[in-house]
Amino acid sequence: MSNNIIEVRDLKMYFPVLRGLLKRKVADVKALDGISFDIKEGETLGLVGESGCGKTTVGRNLIRLYKPTDGSIVFKGKEIAKAKEKDLGWVRREMAMVFQDPYSSLNPRLNSAEIVGEPLKIHNLVSSKKEFNERVEELFVMSGLSPDMMDRYPHEYSGGQRQRLSIARALAGDPSLIICDEPISALDVSMQAQILNLLQKLQEKREGLSYLFISHDLLAVQYISKRVAVMYLGHIVEMADSEELYSHTLHPYSQALLSAQPLPDPFIEENREVVVMQGELPTPLNPPSGCTFHTRCPMAQKICSEKAPELKDVGCGHCVACHLV
């Protein structure tokens, strides 16, 4: 299909564990172990999972902050998984990132106009100081910041406003894909809603802007994404349209994750059965055999510990990796 902005196939990312004087490799942490998905133009794909499941690693691989161990990433028709650093300039313009921590992701020694405008300079998108100022002002307004604040430094902003700055910076190169890595988890509830609505508004305004929205908050992901992928220990275990996933949850892990999320409504909670999943996340250093979830799965059978299930389509683009579905 041609309207896919990015196609990821069998992406693997192993981090070597080095020990001893000679830094010999003793093992691999399999952060990503064969991940495939597409993001269409103008679409938002949500990526949920618990900490350590590899969701951030996916984002960092796409924008090539990490070099994938194996697999392919085709962005706008070009293979970038194995591209050299010097050939990645256009990728960093066409793809941008908003990080989780609005405190450490902004340079405290630059003022906000310099932060937002830095991509413009790096990619030579403006030719004069005047054009630079105009463009930065435009980005401020787009992100819901007052242009009067352009000469302020990051510490003068609140958490929500800093995240707006990060978004303004991400928009500077006029990207077609923005990777949002937990953009709202460091914010207060009322600020979270503002940022979610801002991201949505930007997408409406600029046709064809896609997001990869990484979060552990199922409700936020459900709200902003068209499609959602659930990750567990380096694998995608379920992927479907947002509504479909939340109404017909198939994978036992997604079910447990959804059940673990308390809904902010006592009248719903009253009649809701809480399924508490036992145990904790196994270490990716030595993941369980077969289906990685079988150690905690309430429905595990013999086959689950022997053979790894493949992600298969069970209809209407609803994909699930489970032997029992």
Partner: protein
């Protein structure tokens, strides 16, 4: 049910270079035995500071409890000196606390058994051997597998979820009448958080312990709390049972707060603006600049106290409590 804790007019201030920050502003609430009271609000609204004031944990200087009473049993907790014998008798024994960060609130140099039995040896007259048995029994209750050997582990040998279980066990071990859980599960993953909350809920209901649950997560209070106090800019702006509040949120802030959390199949309405600065607060309603229902009288009248509207449901909003002159 009997009354356990009655807080009245609690006000806590911090001296800073830029002026006096009134972090908690004249709050009053009660906790009955055996109930779970949720305290919700955004960061900086004073929910933690109010709980720490009651426990005598406010660092002074710069902080100071400037007014109020907190009657627990027959004692006014706010009158007790921080390190006095009476306070130490209550703290950890009758009222205990669970903090957010399990790594920093456990002593890394002591084994789990050592720091848990420390509580028992301090407050109860029992031998070390008996204390160890009680610790192991408690660890089992909070869901630590193989408690006999895990009791000799150090905190760094446990995962975050395990450590928080130890914290819960430590808070429960003297069988207190009240537990204050300050964002106890915030740092944990969703599935681990659910495990822990279920365990805590079962444990306090079983032991008939009252719990004050401080959290910013509305879902958690909706699932577990009996009553809620909603805080904004240092004041309790609405209070009532969970159902009263959700069925009919009286204060505009509560209403907006409920609407700005994404729910399945609903639109999110953001609250414009930001919480106000707590320095030199105006005498009017703190939510006024962000309120979508504000009227002329709101700008003129000084802020109201928490007023009972019906049942146990009270609010600080003048328009909604019938206190305003020209309500629409």
């Amino acid at each position: 049910m009997s009354r356990l804790l009655t807080v009245e007019g609690l006000t806590t201030e911090f001296k800073t270079e830029r002026g006096i920050v009134r972090a908690v502003n004249n709050i009053s609430y009660t906790v009955d035995s055996g109930e779970i009271v949720g305290v919700v609000g955004e960061s900086g609204c004073g929910k933690s500071v109010s709980q720490m004031s009651i426990m005598g944990l406010i660092p002074s200087p710069p902080g100071k409890v400037v007014a109020g009473t907190a009657i627990f049993g027959n004692t006014d907790l706010l009158k007790l000196k921080k390190e006095s014998k009476e306070m130490c008798e209550i703290r950890g024994n009758r009222i205990s606390m669970i903090f957010q960060e399990p790594m920093t609130s456990l002593n890394p140099a002591l084994t789990v058994n050592k720091q848990m039995s420390e509580m028992l040896l301090e407050h109860k007259s029992i031998s070390k051997k008996e204390a160890r048995e009680r610790v192991i029994d408690m660890l089992r209750q909070v869901g630590i597998p193989d408690p006999e050997s895990r009791a000799d582990d150090y905190p760094h040998q446990m995962s975050g979820g395990m450590r928080q279980r130890v914290m819960v066990g430590m808070a429960m071990i003297c069988d207190p009448a009240l537990i204050i859980a300050d964002e106890a599960t915030t740092a944990l993953d969703a599935t681990i958080q659910a495990q822990l909350l279920e365990m805590m809920n079962n444990l306090v209901r079983e032991h008939h312990t009252a719990m004050v649950m401080v959290t910013h997560n509305l879902g958690i209070v909706a699932r577990y709390a009996d009553r809620i106090n909603v805080m904004y800019a240092g004041s309790i702006i609405e209070s009532g049972t969970v159902k009263e509040i959700w069925a009919n949120p009286l204060h505009p802030y509560t209403e907006s707060l409920i609407h700005c959390v994404p729910q399945l199949g609903q639109k999110v309405e953001a609250i414009p603006g930001m919480p106000p600065s707590l320095i030199n607060r105006p005498p009017t309603c703190p939510f006024l600049p962000r309120c979508k229902y504000r009227q002329k009288c709101c700008f003129e009248d000084p802020v109201q106290e928490l007023t009972l509207v019906e049942g146990t449901h009270s609010t600080m909003c003048a328009l909604r409590s019938g206190g305003a002159k020209n309500e629409q």
